[in-house]
């Protein structure tokens, strides 16, 4: 296995945790940032900090150019046009933007919206609210115990009253990746649109919105080696043009009188108020870093690590793994439980060994109910993860089973 990136690019990974080597295995919650991202943000703050689109002076022009440059980088990363890239706080806000602006303008009583059983709460609750408000129906496609969307059921639920299919591009629990192109083709035949929660997907596999043929894509920078507090909604231009604004205020307007206002061009129509420019700059640097590594290489690296971890985990007595046991079918995330050890206890015991994993319901409570468990442990990988991290984790699990036996 060749590592795609240097661990030394990520300063935080040099930390000692409880006196031990740091094995960070919670990248699905948030990824760590390479030094190029930290530097780009620091430089923006030190040299170019000014409000964007406003000042008629040099550093405001620089700030605007850097902010808009970041938009171009993110657009290129997913093969989209810059004016289709709306900066938001995170993927959650991007999804809510669609639910409020597009949803309130398009969903009427009797319509239905389709989600899957493995959605993160962020791609479930906004649709619950919308459906409740509009007396529309929320339809849920089941997933198999291995986290595959049951396509036969999907086809059955899809009707001419389906207005939207909202689906995760990569499950944050199973790591499974529904076939988005197939889903989009079926949905479009019924004139339904497709929204993809790409929070997990975009950090781990190449994403081309044109090839996928979907209509909306939500991203969070912090899952993609960028900073927290910045995300993106990508949508097809004609959809953004037809949608009413979401948040109102400065920068999103063209002309304002005391009684009325007209809207700015895309994408600024959806970016009210002073934006998180430094966050966008960090996001741009993060996608540059990922592009340099090559998303194909990233995928291969994480797939090899996943296969390695799955093999090692299976050798520990009492370990149950949720989701596919083949690395080809999933991204770099493994949900598991160790018999007789509550995941919170496991996470605490692993922390003592320098290993950071997630434990809990992973914002997917319906999925936990399906498994009949309260919570699971979860390890997840990124470009900087190494075999050594996994070995350290496996050794710590073995130790934990001894403590709790």
């Amino acid at each position: 296995m060749t590592d795609v990136s240097k661990k030394s690019d990520f300063p935080i990974l040099k930390r000692r945790i409880h006196g031990k080597r740091f094995a960070y295995l919670d990248s699905a919650a948030t990824a760590q940032r390479p030094v190029v991202v930290l530097k780009a943000m620091d430089e923006f703050q030190r040299k170019h900090n000014a409000n964007t689109h406003r000042g008629i002076y040099l550093i405001s022009e620089e700030a605007t150019a850097l902010y808009e440059g970041a938009r171009q980088k993110v657009a290129a990363f997913i093969h989209a046009q810059p004016n289709e890239i709306v900066f938001t706080r995170n993927a959650t806000e991007a999804i809510n933007l669609v639910a409020y602006a597009w949803g309130r303008a398009n969903i009427v009583t009797g319509d239905n919206i389709i989600v899957t059983e493995m959605e993160h709460h962020s791609n479930l609750v906004p649709w619950q609210l919308l459906c409740k408000e509009r007396k529309a129906e929320l339809r849920v496609v089941p997933v198999t115990d291995e986290g595959a969307v049951v396509m036969k059921e999907f086809t059955k639920l899809l009707t001419h009253r389906t207005k939207l299919v909202a689906v995760s591009g990569m499950s944050n629990v199973f790591g499974t990746m529904p076939d988005l192109a197939v889903i989009a083709r079926s949905a479009h035949r019924k004139n339904a649109l497709v929204l993809v929660d790409g929070a997990q997907l975009a950090a781990h596999v190449p994403v081309d919105v044109k090839k996928l043929g979907v209509d909306f894509l939500a991203l969070s920078a912090h899952k993609m080696l960028g900073p927290m507090g910045i995300g993106v909604l990508w949508a097809k231009r004609e959809l953004l043009e037809a949608m009413p604004p979401f948040l109102a205020g400065g920068d999103m307007i063209r002309e304002v009188s005391l009684q009325t206002a007209t809207w700015n061009d895309l994408p600024w129509k959806f970016e009210a108020g002073t934006p998180n420019a430094v966050g966008a700059v960090g996001f741009g640097a993060a996608v540059d870093y990922l592009t340099k590594l090559g998303m194909g290489s990233v995928r291969r690296h994480e797939m090899a690590l996943t296969a390695y971890a799955l093999k090692k985990l299976r050798h520990i007595k009492g370990v149950s793994i949720y989701g596919p046991t083949s690395a080809r079918l999933k991204g770099g995330v493994i949900a598991f439980n160790v018999q007789g050890i509550h995941p919170h206890d496991l996470a605490t015991l692993l922390d003592r060994e320098g290993v950071a994993i997630r434990s809990g319901h992973h914002c997917a409570q319906p999925l936990m109910q399906k498994f009949g468990v309260m919570a699971t442990a979860r390890m997840s990988f990124s470009v900087y993860t190494t075999k050594q991290d996994i070995d350290q984790c496996i050794a710590a699990i073995a130790k934990a089973t001894k403590v709790m036996a």
Partner: protein, 120 residues
């Protein structure tokens, strides 16, 4: 592994929780969940003449949740209602013999919160 949080007494209460089960007749009871992980604790008390004369707890949870609730049942049995109502998180820390830290406070204090809900 020498770990203050997973020392022998805590593990003992986790594996052999005291007063685990339900009371046929209770005078006070409450149920609470930890929304972070779905852990849940039910506590039942029988109070007579201002004293806790019987106690039971049930539910499911991690070692810290279970041990803390178990220790709490031992601590309140035979105590006056007035004393039980005054129990604080500091008392739970004393029972556990360790401060659990911010990430596990919800686990450690779930039993205590349930107790206070029962008597509120």
């Amino acid at each position: 592994m020498t770990d203050a949080l997973y020392k022998a007494t805590i593990l003992d209460h986790h594996k052999h929780p005291r007063h685990f089960g339900t009371l046929k007749r209770s005078t006070h009871e409450a149920h609470l969940e930890n929304t972070l992980c779905g852990d849940e604790v039910t506590m039942q008390f029988k109070v007579e003449k201002g004293k806790v004369i019987d106690v039971a707890f049930s539910g499911r949870g991690c070692a810290i949740t279970t041990a803390a609730a178990s220790m709490l049942t031992e601590a309140v049995l035979g105590k006056s209602l007035a004393a039980v109502k005054k129990l604080t998180s500091k008392d739970v820390d004393k029972l556990l013999g360790v401060k659990v830290g911010p990430a596990r406070e919800k686990c450690a204090y779930l039993g205590l919160e349930t107790l206070h809900k029962a008597f509120s």
